[in-house]
């Protein structure tokens, strides 16, 4: 993953609440077996409306999106993060994010920045004509108008973003610890090992009541 230390540029001043993953990328775009190319489908239903924000030349290609509460709610589809990344969005600023979306965002080099609603309201105004900077080093969002909003990020996730680390690789380095856990768990809870295969299922009339 490419390291991210700052995201600076224009921002889509959207502010909408409960933006769900079906809005970010409708289901029919999920039929791909690739990660790339989903930017075309991003916000398709919003873009179908004349005069929409995403097709406004003032904001075209903005690396930042400003939204309302509960951004990315709904499905677990990482396609939402892929679509945002593909359209060039590197940071989303909102008062809150769905848990699954914020995890997906981090893993794709998108910074989910949590700021309180008053800061969002101010940024929505500032974004009309000023660039916004999200700085991971100082953990602040600043504008050309001298606004300065500090935010917090999980330290581990911040490090992964700033150093472009591969989480799977990091975890694989803990292989011995995982094997030790497995050894102990197979003694304590042997049934979890599972009966392999869903073999020989009879569905006679009476079993399920």
């Amino acid at each position: 993953m490419t390291p991210v230390t700052t995201v600076a540029g224009t921002a889509y001043p959207w502010g909408a609440k409960n933006v769900d993953t079906d809005v970010i990328i409708p289901a029919h775009w999920l039929k791909t077996i690739k990660r790339s190319g989903l930017g075309k489908g991003a916000f398709e239903t919003v873009r179908a409306q004349p005069g929409n924000l995403f097709d406004d030349p003032r904001y075209a290609g903005s690396p930042i999106l400003i939204a309302g509460d509960n951004f990315g709610c709904g499905s677990s589809r990482e396609h939402a993060a892929w679509a945002l990344a593909d359209m060039g969005v590197r940071a989303v600023i909102a008062p809150s994010f769905s848990d699954i979306f914020s995890g997906n965002a981090f893993k794709n080099g998108i910074v989910p920045v949590v700021l309180p609603q008053p800061a969002i309201d101010r940024l929505l105004v500032a974004a009309a004509d000023a660039e916004i900077t999200v700085d991971l080093e100082t953990m602040t969002v600043t504008t050309a108008y001298q606004d300065r909003f500090p935010f917090e990020l999980d330290p581990f996730r911040r490090r992964c973003l700033m150093e472009g680390l591969d989480e799977v690789g990091l975890t694989l380095a803990q292989d011995t610890q995982i094997s030790n856990f497995e050894g102990a768990a197979s003694v304590a809870r042997p049934w979890v090992e599972g009966r392999r295969r869903y073999e020989g299922i009879a569905v006679a009339g009476s079993r399920r009541t």
Binding site: K17, D22, K31, G74, S76, A81, F156, R195
Partner: protein
């Protein structure tokens, strides 16, 4: 004495491989379900990095989202091709990837095929006290059996395949207690709709919910699955129900459940899992069952809930300005005017199915309302069993004939009209009473208008042609 613990803390603690100073844990994952939509990129990444699947035997794959719900074999038993090339490619990728990595795969033509969240519990793959994940947000459903189950993104699917673990921080805990007994005609779907209406679509964000109280204790596992399934619609990544005798009776003799001495040991451990007396939740919500009526949604967020006896709300009535704007947009999309009685709204489509309400009890509830009635003119109604096993069971009970005799379509298992990824869609501007879990803009097809309802309410809408109070139809029979 040790500090009293919640069910969630007990399962969490039993799965911690490593705990870091900042509280992040490497958590062991016991069970992984895989479907065709969110896995291809994970397998692709494994291949690109030359990685293997650590514990293929703990993973089970089944296609569901893309699969058309029309017959899969021709009269001679040959596999029928899938018309949509992209869907076919995704389904082929699942078959090829699972074969290459040694993962059990339930083929589209197997009797056990179905929606991943119906399949897991009914095969006994889902077990109390396990950690279970799937690249799908409704994985929360499996919490009904006392599994810590949650949806993950594709990068996490890759992480679990490669390491059988996930990096996570512990969530806060929320108890949602439903006291009392449910009224006449009130179903588990109404309970969860009422809960989401109360806490809001983001109310559970950052929490793992545990459902407690008399109503939950008295409920079947299938009803609990409906409730836990929609935890995510209230923002909670996982929803739990403590395992009890109902859970054990449900699981016993399921094909992948433990057997013999293993079963006894498992049950003994499962009995230790329920939340200790005196354990603290970070937040508690108490709901009185007497306040829950048959309910449905009016807007495009699952929090937009009203009782069927209610009316479309006036956006100006919401205190929150953002909600006022959202409600106006929702009503515009839904083609509804404030003040309209919900029961005066007619529907063109009825969908009974999905991982929320595609199990046998759901089909029984719907069939009992259909009785000898007929689907109203101008309504297209379909029943899509959640799995092949549900379908067979329903056919053994003659439910299919109740439905087809009334004019419903009776289809092959899959996600179907729950989401617009396969041929079952609601056309633009048309209205659907749906037993699924999401009423988002475009969820059932571009421009589709969705009202989330229980199976019985969906059946009532089908036979009357409008959103209806199922109690009126049930009352007429008794």
């Amino acid at each position: 004495m040790a500090r009293p613990l919640t069910l969630y803390e007990k399962i969490w603690n039993a799965h911690v491989v490593d705990r870091r100073d900042d509280g992040t844990c490497l958590l062991y994952i016991d069970r992984h379900l895989v479907h065709e939509v969110t896995s291809p990129q994970a397998f692709e990444a494994l291949r690109a990095a030359g990685r293997r699947v650590r514990r293929p035997e703990l993973t089970l794959a089944v296609p569901d989202h893309n699969l058309p719900t029309t017959p899969r074999l021709d009269a001679d038993g040959r596999l029928l091709p899938i018309a949509d090339a992209e869907s076919a490619a995704q389904l082929d990728a699942l078959r090829a990837n699972t074969a290459a990595f040694g993962i059990d795969y339930i083929d589209a033509t197997a009797a056990e095929q179905g929606i991943v969240h119906v399949v897991g519990p009914e095969l006994g793959f889902t077990l109390p006290g396990t950690t279970l994940v799937c690249g799908d947000s409704h994985t929360s459903a499996h919490g009904a059996l006392g599994a810590l189950a949650f949806g993950i993104g594709t990068s996490e699917v890759e992480h679990v395949l490669a390491t059988q673990t996930l990096l996570l921080k512990q969530s806060r805990t929320m108890e949602i207690r439903v006291d009392g007994t449910l009224g006449f005609g009130v179903s588990p779907k109404d309970v969860i709709l009422a809960i989401i209406g109360r806490i809001g679509a983001a109310g559970g964000t950052g929490y793992v919910v545990e459902y407690t109280g008399e109503v939950i204790r008295a409920m079947s596992v299938e009803g609990r699955l409906t409730i836990a399934n929609m935890s995510i619609e209230g923002g909670a990544r996982a929803g739990l129900v403590a395992p009890d005798e109902t859970t054990f009776a449900y699981l016993k003799n399921r094909p992948m459940a433990p057997a013999g001495a293993d079963w006894d040991r498992a049950v003994a451990w499962w009995r230790t899992l329920p939340t200790d007396a005196g354990a603290a939740y970070d937040r508690s919500v108490v709901i009185d069952a007497a306040d829950i009526a048959p309910s449905l949604t009016w807007g495009t967020s699952p929090e937009d809930v009203v009782p069927i006896t209610g009316t479309v709300p006036d956006p100006d009535g919401f205190a929150d300005p953002a909600k006022r704007v959202a409600a106006r947009k929702s009503l515009d999309y839904m083609g509804l005017a404030p003040g309209t009685r919900m029961q005066d709204v007619s529907v063109e489509h009825v969908f009974i199915g999905s991982c929320t309400n595609g199990r046998i009890e759901d089909l029984r509830a719907a069939a009992s309302v259909v009785g000898g009635r007929r689907v109203a003119d101008g309504v297209r109604a379909m029943v899509v069993p959640g799995s092949g096993l549900v379908k067979r069971q329903a056919e053994a009970e003659g439910l299919d004939r109740v439905f087809t005799g009334a004019g419903f379509e009776w289809r092959e298992p899959g996600c179907s009209m729950c989401l617009a990824m396969n041929p079952d869609k609601v056309p633009p501007g048309e209205r659907c009473a749906s037993t699924s879990n999401r009423n988002f803009v475009g969820r059932q097809g571009p421009g589709a208008r969705t009202h989330l309802v229980s199976p019985a309410m969906a059946a009532a809408a089908a036979v009357t042609g409008r959103l209806s109070d199922v109690r009126d139809l049930m009352g007429a029979e008794s």
